[in-house]
Symmetry: D2
Subunit: 484 residues, 4 copies
């Protein structure tokens, strides 16, 4: 399970398994890196619209949020960014409503945990260079970021953040082309890896996607008054923008109030949208490549039911991301779907360390098992993925304590056996419970009566894209774009 | 639909219906009044446990939160209370963990909206009177509160809050009995209406339920070290307390570290637990009168499907409270259950006023309809209740805009035709869409293709209690306990 | 020295004196209890004016601040109060400017330290009673407060605060007279001790001073549009109000937009304004009984110079309260006045605990001695008072470390030998360094070359009132109004 | 008068003078740019000491504060910076006490007003470059900053702040020398103007002063365990550091726990310490070039009395910066010194806009004239400087309203007739009241009975340095280092 909200770390004592699995992070197992948006439109309150778009993208990052706003004339950009949720950085939305500006670019950043949370890394970044101002936001991770930084530093560059956005700004500034599109054309081919960038020079908004399209980026119209870009289409629904299409891998779009220009900046590589966007990251009401995420999850559940039926009395899902797959698993298998796990939506980011008493009772402060539902029953838990396995262990333990007679784990994706080089926070291989273990061995570790992972083919068929259009390196262990 | 989180008011323009229905509150239609908890146990960090219990009860009130903590010796009580969520009033749970005390009483208060939010009304209230200190929390509403206040004021009493807790404290203090149980025995019979009180004098914790048991109150054990009371059993699960039983109507329990004493303080009236606790208020993992709330909601959906089948392609529920009923409606009717409505969990309490553009697009900032799911489809929306009808209107409008071919509304409770005198914030009769209207007329107003309300019998049978054990005055219009 | 800002406690190691003197509070030695204000005027923004008056009175209390505002019609009063400075409770003064209301009453409360800081005790208190609403603020302390509370509690009263304001409200409510002036006439004679009350029923503002006039309270006009009361006249200057006169001891004034009514509520006792108001509490630009505080302090210094000349090279004062006396001491004695002690105005309420290194160096984080001024010099330190003596000890130590050849302490008031029963936070007798010690013995403890206290006659003559008009119980040890 | 605390802008209506003088800023007339500190010492809590040093330097800047801390090994630096006072950025000093680190560098930044307040400009700035990490703080202003930025941008540099610190970091990084001292030696000669820099690479701390020594920077020892640099010596007193000497113009010092190395980095130019440091900026307990600031101000007052005696009854100063000069003016002239102006220390940074009524009454919310002192009197107001003259006008007006018979203005510095190019926020020439006007003309504008400015010679003699050692360009209009 991939929790939407950041979770506090705590150890849950001895699970009776090998120690390498007993890691401090129990809940959050992997997460997305960021959400980006931006657009330009004459006569619309773009700061306000971008602010709402950030709300819609908040599930993609809760560490920091920020906006740059401009009047579209190339005049001075206004910047506000800070640590925390959109509602914490922009507590008074009316201020955004009243802030004039035809152009805005926004960002929400995923939290890698307190230790690595640096206010300096909050985006947008705003630079002054020889051709004026430049604001940049991004989602993804460059494979050759380290090498490029070293090269730039060797030439005398200084860095104030750890972001790929600052790296791109350096490249643009050194390129020297007063035309930003031209500068991008010159430097973007040097970038390897996953990235969706949005930039603005205060006059236009530029959107850019890597040659494989690892990270999503979609384009919408604003009632004929302009255009808007966002990581996910749910942002468009929130502000009443009309979805046009996803950016093509390697495409650069240049937005103005008057129109939109497209350039194929990079020779497109094999499209490789991250399959985890469908499985866990994206909001169910978003469409990726025109395919609705919720409907994919439903189909994943149906195929899982066919591939791995379970001799059980009921099916339950882990809120919120596994509910869709769990309910269709139940439908397909003819079992009742019950909400046996209830999530406390108010715990939020509070730091919680249970007392000894609570630990002994196996109580959980965020999730509660409904004893009346599971007592004496054979339960199927459908989860979207298993990464470290620590969350699964805990769930199983909770189910057993609540009286479940049998616990069958069904996972609507294949075993995760490799880490990700493209910006997803998946731990190293040896921390992955499925790395080097058969499902049976994993079942043993988790203490379940049976386990079933959806096959890679099942997953791909459920989505409906061809296998080549999806990056599945963390499932296959084969990363054809990875650095040698 | 009853939203769990407070919603900002905004008008959605002209719905083409009579004006009396176009009210500023679109989302929150009715709400619960409060959550209470408290207990005493030797050697347990009671402030910490009560703090977690408040988290578990947070859905019952988000306006204010507070705790009193004592050492059980009758020594000075520590009080902290404030406006906002538990996480706002107690931002550092470690402070509660480290606060010594064998005894604690807590409260979360429902928000009646900014206008009526008074910091003074936050509970617990802490009084000094002739026999020492007295802390009081409550859930409910006295029918004769106004009369008692007038009587007390005529005798020279002064009031600093609008709460029934202060009223009870005045009665206790005037009664003059140094024994708190004795004082309660003397004055509680004067109270008419709905109430669940928890009190402490710093030595013991007292729990008290009105003669009809309108508002829930349950008792649990703490591993043999003490006892704990809470509005809902989900609080027990959170802290590892062992459920014992619900308090009987009219019962007073007196808790100490050593044991528990029970007195039938009031001649029990006909039990009348508020049926809305099952339908909407309570958390699905709570049990009321030993009956699990989630399972009731599932049964409500099944019976609704049988009473009011719909010629449709799919079923959807309104998150979060209607999901259970919607999924069982789907199962029972053989239709697929889809999550066509997606809720943005981050909007929270941000004040939001959509722009003209957004209004025209019919976009909603908190709920989003998944177009890919409903487009060209005949959709059943299952909701738990319809009060004013404004939320329903908005949902229907959103569905139509997203391309739904037909919209069939199914409600897992009967039409609400009367207001509540027992503390539930239901508007006056003329604001109720079903007041004086047939379902067909309501369907016309809402603009749906059909509507179906679960029958009162269906509702009662789904719960499994006898009709006499439930207060259904808002559905029947017959309130046998109401003041003449 | 009496510091204006609350100070953090720290021990400064071994001063080589008897242990009873080594107390945690080094800086704040005694302090005033509160500041009150209130008024009514047609067409003026009274919330705003009262807010500024609170700023002017802030030196009288920094623990909490609050305001009630009404429209003068007896309609519902608006209340806001909270812990902290005026600028913390009312961070946006524009909100007060825009709050309509012809009537306002405000309060700042002195901080008795974190331990005793209770949000519940913040004033104004707002009560509802049989005749409507009633708001109360006060400055002072009742001698028979405990007895009255007991009596009221015995009759069934409940208390939610420790304030005398709540006590007065109880008495008023029990009295039963719908006319507030009449009720005050009936109950105020029962109050013994020091008090300046301001009350409002939402229609009029009532100001009231005890029969001895222990605590100040002055009256001003508002350009013919109304009247205003405040603890000190500096509040009038801030808002442009025209000083009329001080209230007489035992006088009640009743203010409306139309006019002002005065009643001699209490048979006036011997007037006894607290002499510490002149010595330390009041702001130098305030006038008490028509006598300017700064000019009194200057005269205290001059008389001190005549009574206790010192063979020295320069004179310095302890900022801020002793500067006036120190400079006139210098003038009178023909010695240069130097600012050898510099105060850091930014330390504020920060908690500071010096390191071992800093302790060894004798450094102070709030005060700094200017070595270049005192090195090799014979220094006279003029301070306004010595209570515990711990501050003086520290100052002497700092002077010595900075190279002062001789240190002569001169105090512009007599030795404090008794505690105060009227609301001033003077410690118990055995904590007072002058209690039971001759000045020579005190000099020995403090480690100064000489010490000189202004005589009681010198102090009285400097003020210019007759000795009977001033309360000097803490200097004389004779408290003729104290409870037997 | 130069106010220590930032003031809110407001217009005070028509002063009957030419409009160019009626500027929005009435109080703050000129201000210093920043305070810097930093040091390294084995075994001392350097974060804590640097935090206290920032408190001592707070008067030099209230817009932002920040610290970098390192362990002296070159390991990763910890950075915290933010908008506001030291007490706002580091609300819990205990966190600094507990933060390990032998090395720290800190900064407080002067507020140029809300409009220009950019969180991005808060220092220290922390850079990563080819040779590791680099933190920089500075005080001053480069004359050729614009040209250097353009040059660097032309080479592809990007800027994220407006600071000279970022500029220096770029130059260092481009220089390429792995030895930071060597890099400084190479690039610092390119810097023109006023600067005191402190830098750290995490191993050593580097302090650097421009060739004329415009801005102060002093060195102290830490009990043999290390060294500490600060803008003013008052910071040393606060932390118990032992003053060693001021840095020489053009000197670079390199501090380690073991020792201190000095290099004459720049050929020293004519020393030119900003004379305003003595007149207004520095804290009275600081010594500059070994000369105590308070004693200079006293001497300024004495010489002013001799140059410009006044036929008056009393002398008063403008708190806080003019008190020293005013009191010695009084002593020298044999007139009594009175504190006729009282400052409200609690107004702070609250935004205040007086009402029409208050404006008509001429009331001031921050300063109050004590009528009892000045009524019917001939008053000498001693102020440290007159820049725009708006504050003086207001003071005169207040004095007149309070009944002063005559008002004589005496200024303890010469007329300011030119702006400053070295970082002091003095307005342009045409905004300066003395620019192109004789003192008599200025007196006419201000509405005083007489005015007297201290002569330049008197000022220089009072300080005791040779005229060549002081920058007096704003008084003389001759700036020998200014760009052609």
């Amino acid at each position: 399970m991939f929790a939407l909200l950041p979770e506090e770390s705590f150890t849950w004592g001895d699970f009776g398994v090998d120690n390498e699995l007993i890691l401090p992070k129990l809940f959050r197992e992997a997460t997305e890196s960021c959400g980006v948006c931006g657009g330009v439109a004459a006569g619309l309150p773009m700061a306000y619209l971008a602010g709402f778009a950030l709300y819609a993208l908040q599930h993609r990052g809760q560490e920091s949020a920020g906006l740059v706003v401009g009047d579209g004339s190339g005049g001075k950009l206004w910047l506000k960014r800070g640590m925390g949720l959109v509602s914490e950085v922009f507590p008074v939305m009316a201020e955004l409503r009243d802030r004039p500006g035809n152009l805005a670019v926004g960002h929400v950043r995923y939290s890698y945990g307190e230790k690595k949370a640096h206010p300096e890394n909050a985006e947008p970044l705003l630079f002054r260079y020889r051709h004026g101002e430049l604001a940049v936001v991004h989602n993804g991770r460059l494979l050759n970021g380290g090498a490029l930084r070293e090269e730039l530093q060797a030439e005398g560059a200084i860095f104030q953040t750890d972001t790929d956005s600052e790296l791109l700004a350096h490249l643009i500034a050194r390129q020297g082309n007063p035309d930003l599109a031209g500068a991008l054309q010159a430097v973007v081919p040097r970038l390897e890896g996953a990235f969706s960038f949005i930039l603005t020079d205060g006059k236009k908004v530029y959107g850019l996607r890597d040659r494989h399209g690892f990270r999503p980026l979609s384009l919408a119209g604003l009632s004929g008054k302009g255009f808007f870009l966002a990581s996910e289409t749910c942002a468009f629904d929130t502000i009443g923008a009309e979805y046009i299409r996803d950016l093509a891998p390697g495409e650069l779009v240049i937005l103005t109030g008057e129109g939109m220009e497209s350039r194929q900046l990079l020779k497109p590589g094999r499209p490789s949208l991250c399959v985890f966007e469908y499985i866990y990251f994206a909001r169910p009401d978003s469409n990726l490549q025109g395919i609705n995420v919720h409907l994919v999850r439903r189909e994943l559940g149906r195929r899982l039911a066919r591939e791995h039926p379970a001799p059980a009395d009921l099916v339950t899902g882990v809120p919120d991301s596994s509910i869709a797959a769990a309910s269709s698993y139940a439908e397909e298998s003819g079992l009742p779907y019950e909400m046996a796990l209830v999530k406390n939506r108010y715990i939020g980011r509070t730091f919680i360390r249970p007392t000894q008493q609570m630990r002994e009772e196996g109580v959980d402060l965020k999730l509660n098992v409904v004893r009346k539902i599971v007592e004496g029953k054979r339960v199927v838990i459908v989860d979207d993925s298993v990464v470290r396995g620590t969350t699964s262990m805990k769930l199983v333990r909770m189910m057993r304590r609540a009286g479940a007679r049998e616990v069958h784990m069904r996972i609507s994706s294949p075993p995760v056996i490799a880490t990700c080089h493209y910006g997803i926070d998946i731990p190293t291989a040896k921390e992955l419970i499925s790395h080097g273990r058969t499902p049976a061995a994993v079942a043993g570790l988790l203490g379940v009566d049976s386990i079933g992972f959806l096959s890679e083919k099942g997953m791909i068929d459920a989505i409906g894209l061809s296998p080549e259009q999806l990056c599945r390196a963390c499932f296959s262990g084969v990363d054809q774009y990875a650095p040698a």
